[in-house]
């Protein structure tokens, strides 16, 4: 993987007094979070505590209703250095209506670094091959993503983020559905990133094999930061805080309000 020396002069994430509302309901509020270059941060918390929402707000997928977010010193509204950010969403979008090979999905990770209408260059190809090798899927490169197991699909999504050679990683539950052996493979891959000086922000349910890498734990509870510090000091995060009554979309067509926005 080509090494880029992370720029240490600017702090990757500075969020002041961040708040997020979904459909008018406040979900996150009063979030102050600064992540320095090279930190490995785990976001913990119960279901509905807002940890995924926080990652989505930090990546710009969910607008802030309040507060000031700077990525690498740039206000989030003006931020355009997307090649510095790698995002691993929760596994869901790996398979789609048309077959796609592992290599094709991972190639998407180079898009932030490619110009329009230019074919993949030698550097791109090498980065893609290295990323696939790092997650141990070299033998499945040409196979359809839909034919892989859940854990393998998760590794494809991680390889996709790795291929862009970013400095700041956001991972939303990367180990969900991955067996213990491959959690270790992932932990080794993330460890290699950490040694390289990358900054990692990761949503996790359980730390598992990742525990030795994590130097800072941010525990979310009911949309606020309940704890921020070293992993050893973290309170048990499983049973405190009350669960949100999360309203899911059902799949019944909504005849009464086809145009209403509810997200």
């Amino acid at each position: 993987m080509p090494l880029t020396t992370p720029d240490t002069s600017v702090t990757p994430i500075v969020l002041r007094d961040g708040a997020v509302a979904i459909g008018g309901r406040p979900v996150l509020r009063g979030i102050d979070l600064t992540v320095a270059t090279g930190e490995f941060v785990a976001l913990l918390g119960a279901n509905g505590s807002g940890k995924s929402t926080l990652v989505r707000a930090l990546t710009g997928l969910r607008p802030l209703t309040r507060g000031d977010l700077r990525l690498f010193g740039v206000p989030s509204g003006d931020f355009d250095q997307w090649q510095r950010i790698g995002f691993v969403p929760q596994r869901s979008g790996a398979a789609s209506g048309v077959p796609a090979s592992v290599r094709e999905v991972v190639s998407s990770g180079r898009l932030a670094r490619r110009r329009l209408l230019r074919p993949l260059g030698a550097v791109d190809r090498r980065a893609i091959d290295d990323a696939i090798a790092l997650v141990g899927l070299t033998e499945r490169t040409g196979d359809g993503v839909g034919t892989l197991s859940g854990g393998q699909q998760q590794r494809v999504l991680i390889a996709r983020a790795l291929a862009g050679d970013p400095e700041l990683f956001f991972l939303d539950e990367p180990t969900a559905g991955v067996d213990l052996h491959h959690q270790q493979v992932l932990a080794d891959a993330l460890g290699a990133l950490k040694d390289r000086g990358s900054t990692v922000v990761q949503v996790a349910h359980e730390l598992g094999p990742l525990a030795p890498l994590v130097e800072r734990v941010v525990v979310m509870s009911d949309g606020r930061i309940a704890h921020d510090g070293a992993p050893a000091d973290a309170p048990g995060h499983h049973d405190h805080g009350h669960h949100h009554d999360v309203r899911r979309h059902d799949h019944v067509p909504h005849v009464s309000s086809p145009l209403e926005r509810d997200r």
């Binding site: 090649q83 995002f87 979008g93 796609a100 999905v105 898009l111 034919t147 197991s149 086809p258």
Partner: protein, 336 residues
């Protein structure tokens, strides 16, 4: 009339050119629609475009261009509803579709045009296509193909995982609208070939056929374009020769020919997927194993030639055998 004479007729040459270009363009957009699980979007745009054609017939403007305008507006509306709505906003889409169809039929009546005139656009009338229409068809189809192939990496990423694409800095909404507009353009391009009510078939069926056999997006896209071209040129030729015996419309022939392609490849796809499932490597589970009681091994030793399905398992191979997994272990077989 001999085949040579038939193909030397100007109207037949125009029809062949139009069929070739629409046959390549429609599946190119169709691949992105199928990837987003919007296979029926082409059908919806086709319904909306009926109103556009009717406006053209009423006002005396070229129905092709009024259809392009209305179809593009309809496609943008569908995309915006999809982006904002629940699930796929399918009810809102239905409202739009039937509004478009009913509006088209109503306006055609108002303009005192016969239903037969509208029917040319509903089911295609490729042999009546004019030289000017052929040029428009070729130019529009070439634009559609150029964008679908040239921006394949971006369009693929946006359809595959919109959130990832956004964090990669792609303007997701722009690309979504672009696909909607391309779909609208190819619907109107194909309306003279297969007709507005059948256009979706030419966008979707070649894609469905090619993904039976392909593992990658690029192969699916390329094969779908090839199959689309074969089906529409082939369908036109079949219809031309069959019309000596009976009245055979090219539009439905093209659609049925591409469906035939799907029917032929589908069992192959089923077999390939079944085989792939059987041969998926077993996960390594550290649960120990029993020694097989050696039933049935008097007749043969398991090996590459024995005919039992061989599945990789960690560092060795298991032979699947009457619901058992046998692995060679020295003199005997282990049950894995």
């Amino acid at each position: 009339m001999s085949p040579a004479e038939l193909f030397s007729l100007p109207f037949m040459q125009r029809a062949l050119l139009a069929a070739l270009f629409t046959g390549v363009a429609a599946p190119a957009v169709g691949t992105y629609l199928v990837q987003r699980r919007l296979a029926l979007m082409g059908d919806g745009i086709g319904h909306v475009a009926v109103t556009g054609v009717a406006i053209g017939l009423l006002t005396g403007w070229s129905p092709t261009w009024t259809a392009v305008v209305v179809a593009v507006l309809g496609a943008i509306a569908i995309e915006l509803i999809r982006e904002r709505g629940h699930t796929n906003g399918d009810v809102a889409l239905a409202l739009l579709f039937y509004g478009g169809l009913a509006g088209g039929v109503l306006i055609t009546g108002l303009g005192n045009q016969s239903a037969a005139r509208l029917q040319q656009y509903l089911f295609g009338s490729i042999t009546t296509i004019s030289a000017g229409d052929v040029v428009v068809t070729m130019v529009l189809a070439a634009i559609v193909i150029g964008v679908c192939v040239g921006l394949a990496a971006q369009l693929f990423a946006v359809a595959q995982d919109p959130e990832f694409a956004r964090v990669a800095g792609l303007r997701v909404r722009f690309y979504n609208l672009l696909v909607a507009v391309l779909a609208a353009v190819s619907v109107t391009v194909a309306m003279r070939t297969v007709g507005l009510l059948l256009v979706s078939a030419l966008m979707v069926v070649p894609v469905a056929t090619s993904q039976q056999l392909s593992r990658s997006f690029r192969t699916t896209l390329g094969a779908a374009m090839l199959l689309g071209a074969l089906a529409s040129v082939g369908g036109l030729v079949v219809a031309a020769f069959a019309s000596y015996q009976a009245q055979v419309a090219p539009g439905p022939t093209i659609v049925l020919l591409s469906l035939l392609g799907f029917v032929v490849t589908w069992p192959v796809g089923v077999w390939l997927r079944h085989r792939a499932r059987l041969r998926t490597p077993f996960a390594d589970e550290p649960l120990g194993h029993d020694v097989s009681d050696d039933h049935g091994h008097e007749t043969h030793d398991h090996g590459p030639e024995c005919g039992h399905v061989a599945v990789p398992h960690d560092d060795h191979v298991d032979y699947v055998h009457d619901g058992h997994r046998h692995a060679v272990h020295g003199e005997h077989y282990d049950e894995h």
